[in-house]
Symmetry: C2
Subunit: 259 residues, 2 copies
C-alpha cells in the first residue's frame, strides 16, 4: 500500500533569521530538497509538503499587525504584500525541489481558504487529492488568508497540517523543525508520547522557540489527538540525513507521537 | 454604485516574445500597472485582474504537450514546472502593481480549479468575492490545472474571465490585447458589436493572433452572449493611455461588445 506522508518544513530552517530582508537559507534548502528526493525515490510513498514563512513572513506580519485583523486601510496593501512574499518563497522552494526531479507543484492555500476567528473553516482539498493521484507533490505554505471575523488572519503551516491530516488520513506526519524534538523540563528529549502519558506529561514540556508555532507545543500536539492510527515525528531538520532517513522509514532521533 | 470591472491583460503585452527564456516586458508592465493605478484611484470601481502567460507559458506548454493531457510520466514534472513559472510571473506582476500602491493579491486558480475536457468545471470564487469586499484586487492568471478527463489542461485567462463574469456579474470586461480590437475581413476595426449583428458579421472577422486565444475570436465572443447587461471592450494594451482612460470610463479606440 502506498503510504501518505505530510512533511512540514519549518520556515526557520529554510530561511535566514535575523536579517532585515527576506532571505533564503540556500544551503539548507538545497540539502533538504536533496534529502527529500532521496527519501522519495523508491515510489512507495505519496507526499504533501507544507513549509513555513520564516523571514518571508514573520517580520512583515509583526510590523503590520495583519494577524490580528484589518483595522486600518493601509493594512489591505500589507495583506497583499505579505501574500506575494509567500508566493515568492514557495516558488523558490518548488524550483529547488524540481531541480532534484521532484514534481513539486505550488498550491496557494489562501486561493480557497476561509478562516473564522483565526481558525480554518474551509479549504479546497479535493485538488490536493487529485494532484496526489497524479503523482504530483503538492507544496502548501503558511499564508495570510481571508477571515470572516477579522478580515485577515494567518493560516499557518501547522494549521494546514492538522487540517490536511483530518481530511486525507495520512499514515505519518513529519515536523522538520529547528530543535531535536519535544523536550521535558530538564531539556531532555522525550522520545515517545502516547495518549496514555500525554495528559500527565504535557505540563512538563520545555517550551522553546518552535518554528511557526503560535500556540504552545502541547496545544499543537493535542490537536492531533483525534487522529488515531497516525504517527507524528518531530525531528531536527537542521541536522543532516534525518529527513531522508525518516522518509525511508528508518528510525531517527526525535519525538514520536502516537495516539 | 461601485462598478465591478474584469481586466484581462494579455500575456503578449507583459512578456517578451521570441525569446528562448521566459522574460518580462518590464517597460510595458510598469506602464500598464501605472495606468491601472491612475484609472483605479478614485475608488469608484472594484477590479479583478487576469493576466496571460506569454513567454512564461506558451513555449513550455508547446514543448511538453501538457495541454493535451498527461500521457507520459515525465509530463508530471512538466506540469509542476509550468505552474511554478506562472506563479513567478504572477508574483512579478503583483509586485509592480503594489509599487503603485495597488493591493494586488495573487490568486492561483489551479489551487481550486477542476477541469473536464479542457473546460472549467469548478473553481472557488467565494474567496475572490471576499477579497473584493475587502478592497483587495485579486490577480488571477492562466495556469495548467487538474483535468478529470485528461489529468491536465490549460485553464486560460480567457476561460477564467468568462467563468468569473458568470459568477460575479461585472459591469465591464476589458481585454487589453496586442491588437486594436476586432477587425473585419478588410482589416478595418469593428467598433461595435451587438446581439443583433453578431450572427451576421461573425463570419467576416479577420482572425489574427489574439493573445491566449485558443479558439477563434468569434467563439470567445459568443461565450459572452449569455451575459446581458455587460459591456466588453477589446483594446490595444500596447498603446499608451487606453487602459487608464477606459478604467476612468472614457471612450477609447477599440471594439465594444454589447449583447
Amino acid at each position: 500500500m502506498t503510504e501518505l506522508i505530510l512533511l512540514k518544513i519549518g520556515g526557520s530552517i529554510i530561511t535566514e533569521k535575523d536579517v532585515s530582508e527576506p532571505k533564503i537559507n540556500t544551503k539548507n534548502l538545497r540539502r533538504i530538497c536533496k534529502e527529500i528526493a532521496e527519501g522519495y525515490e523508491d515510489g512507495s510513498i505519496k507526499l504533501i509538503i507544507v513549509h513555513g514563512a520564516g523571514s518571508y513572513g514573520h517580520p512583515i506580519v509583526k510590523r503590520t499587525g495583519i494577524h490580528e485583523g484589518i483595522t486600518r486601510p493601509e493594512q489591505v496593501l500589507s495583506f497583499a504584500q505579505t501574500q506575494v512574499l509567500q508566493n515568492i518563497l514557495n516558488s523558490e522552494v518548488c524550483q529547488v525541489l524540481q531541480e532534484f526531479h521532484l514534481p513539486a507543484i505550488p498550491v496557494q492555500p489562501s486561493a480557497s481558504a476561509i478562516m473564522e476567528k483565526k481558525r480554518i473553516l474551509s479549504l479546497n482539498f479535493e485538488v490536493i487529492r487529485d494532484f496526489l493521484e497524479l503523482s504530483l507533490i503538492p507544496v502548501l505554505f503558511g499564508v495570510p488568508a481571508f477571515d470572516k471575523t477579522q478580515k485577515c488572519s494567518i493560516l499557518s503551516g501547522d494549521q494546514l497540517i492538522v487540517f490536511l491530516a483530518r481530511k486525507l488520513n495520512p499514515q505519518k506526519i513529519i515536523f522538520a523543525t529547528n530543535v531535536d524534538g519535544i523536550l521535558g523540563k530538564d531539556q531532555q528529549l522525550i522520545e515517545k508520547i502516547t495518549s496514555d502519558d500525554f495528559e500527565s506529561i504535557q505540563d512538563s514540556f520545555y517550551e522553546t522557540s518552535y518554528d511557526d508555532v503560535t500556540g504552545s507545543m502541547a496545544g499543537k500536539i493535542s490537536e492531533l489527538k483525534s487522529l488515531t492510527g497516525l504517527k507524528s515525528y518531530i525531528i531536527n531538520g537542521n541536522k543532516n540525513d534525518l529527513i531522508r532517513n525518516i522518509l525511508k522509514g528508518k528510525n531517527v532521533r526525535g519525538t514520536v507521537i502516537e495516539f
